[in-house]
Symmetry: C2
DNA sequence: TCCCTCGGTCGAACCGATTCGACGAATCGG
DNA sequence: CCGATTCGTCGAATCGGTTCGACCGAGGGA
């Protein structure tokens, strides 16, 4: 099968030939790793511009042993990304682009473990950022065993041997409960993430629960915690049955931003006006909190900053895999918006 | 500098040596491109399992001339992804994973053009899916010139020489207007995407406007069209000034899902109840429409299907770059939810 | 019995870059 | 004026796979 000329990609040898130098000289002119005379350099550059030459990434990666690419392990598409997760992805991609790195996406979990394996073991990436980490997470175990530099957005139960950034859900939810208690609420509920996630050992779910229980005990409140799938319908169903079983409730704290709209629906349908009759406070991406109607009083998760920090940490680990591990735990303050008020007496 | 043993990655030569065969035999055992006796195959597999060997992706890509990776060009993170765009990304990643392809993300536009160039010209990917296509789009021009297979989610003004999938905003918005007209509304507004996007020649903005104008003329309505940035605050500000200038309005059609929540706020603040006093209808991701309160009557964009189709089309082009171009234009029906009703007289 | 085919394997070339050692010419210090 | 550097360049080796041509032995058809 004949290949046509316009299909032939130029390589470094073609550049060298046309510029009348050796291939190594072209390489040195490009990388600057050895001196090249100005005239030669200019001649080479002219040929490169003319032919639109770009070094073949695979060849370079093969020889250099690094790919200038990082992997980003995300939850599979079937479990819809929350607004916060989207914020992480966007900021990681952005920060990586600033460092001239490309980002390879890998949905993991469920049926997509081949993708994870490819990314981790094929020397396709120089490092990995893993989202949605469980308390016991075998992907983390795999990564540790492989020796590939990685950083978690989230952390395992015992995150000693890893670098990570995370949101301090335990502190945040405790703070939410204290905020409600300060307003005089005595009967409060926690709307957590989905039962599946919690059962699978999803960290934020467990830590939110712990913070809730602690704060409820500290303030002598009556608390009830429920799990809820990550969408508005579930939020509504969940809240309606919650209110039916516990009519004495006057406030909800939530880490489930995707369900928040459903909580609103349910309150409206059962005749409770927010914040006059009922208070809601949560942990959410700012964008999301402001989009709700009325805007949600919530701790605004700095997703952009966390994503950028994760990339930073990863670059550090790639540069020096022997350096001590670092981490970042953030607990942003609660932004008072329109959904909390004094308890009705 | 000494390398430690545990750091030494195993390669095909090591496998060959331990299995007592040549490197080519290992390769044939792995790829199945030539027969290998069952005993030999088994022996090789045992060694591979023991050492956890995976072929180096860069070496393979270099020799085979393909990377088993596709590029996904997304808008830069600074312009927040809408829920619909997120749906595209997720479904593309998912569909690619099913085809054992990896996805390289490239934010394009603004400051990130280096990333786009790397992806397109470095032979890093076998093909590209481009989102957010403008009526005149120089990325499309670049891709056409490069000869790299690509598929657009969206299309240029004259999409002859390309394959694409797109949403038929013109038809959809016209359908929305007809729906409102059928309900007796005579004064309707279009809340479009941002003025910057429209000025930059963003297709959906222009096509929505065209459909709006056409339908308004066909039904003899009075129509006013405004642009609005992609967030709730802008939606609110926009709608408030719209209502102040045109108090006679009784309905809004919108393609700006991100602004929809703000439209609700504005209507509530000006004392209009939906759908009793005012109707809203739009084009949005189902998830988003259902999340709004009350749920938005809207044409539900099948993002998952479109993303999967885009991958399909791309696979076709990679397999046979000479095949005729194909495209898919979808116009999903309007799902009646809770935001449209008869015009008050 | 001879020749051909085919299954199974090997060695060598190749993909397109980087990098090391070497070498001639120019420069510099003493 | 001479030996030691330095500059600029070249050729060859290398990274880790795939693939082509060749070879050997077994089996089948005439």
């Amino acid at each position: 099968m004949e290949r046509f000329d316009y299909d032939a990609r130029v390589n470094i040898g073609e550049i060298a030939k046309r510029a009348g130098v050796s291939r190594s000289t072209v390489s040195y002119a490009l990388t600057g790793r050895r001196p090249v005379s100005p005239e030669t350099k200019q001649r080479i550059q002219a040929v490169i511009d003319e032919l639109g030459y770009r070094p073949n990434a695979a060849a370079r990666a093969l020889k250099e042993g690094r790919t200038r690419t990082i992997g980003l392990v995300i939850p599979p598409a079937s479990t819809r990304l929350t607004d916060m997760q989207l914020g992480f992805v966007a900021s990681v991609v952005d920060a990586a682009a600033r460092a001239d790195l490309d980002v390879l996406l890998s949905p993991s979990g469920g049926e997509h473990d081949r993708s994870f394996e490819r990314v981790v073991t094929g020397q396709r990436v120089d490092g990995v950022i893993v989202m949605e980490i469980r308390l016991e997470d075998d992907r983390v175990a795999r990564l540790m065993a492989s020796g590939l530099p990685f950083v978690g957005i989230g952390r395992t139960r015992d995150p000693q041997g890893m670098s990570w950034v995370d949101i301090d859900y335990e502190t945040l939810i405790a703070r939410c409960v204290h905020h409600l208690a300060d307003l005089g609420h005595r009967d409060v509920a926690l709307v957590n993430r989905s039962a599946e996630l919690v059962a699978a050992g999803y960290g934020p779910g467990h830590r939110a629960r712990a913070g809730f229980d602690r704060a409820v005990a500290e303030r002598g409140l009556r608390g009830v915690a429920v799990c809820c799938a990550d969408d508005a319908q579930a939020g509504q169903a969940c809240t309606e049955s919650l209110l039916a079983e516990h009519p004495e409730l006057t406030a909800i704290a939530t880490v489930n931003e995707a369900a928040a709209a459903g909580v609103y629906h349910a309150l409206a349908r059962t005749g409770r006006e927010v914040p006059r009759d009922f208070s809601i406070v949560g942990v959410a991406a700012r964008h999301w909190a402001e989009n709700l109607h009325p805007p949600l009083t919530a701790a605004d998760v700095p997703a952009v900053e966390l994503g950028a920090q994760a990339v930073d940490l990863l670059l550090g680990r790639i540069a020096d895999p022997a350096a001590p591990h670092r981490h970042l735990l953030v607990a942003p303050p609660i932004s008072l918006r329109a959904t909390t008020g004094p308890a009705r007496r």
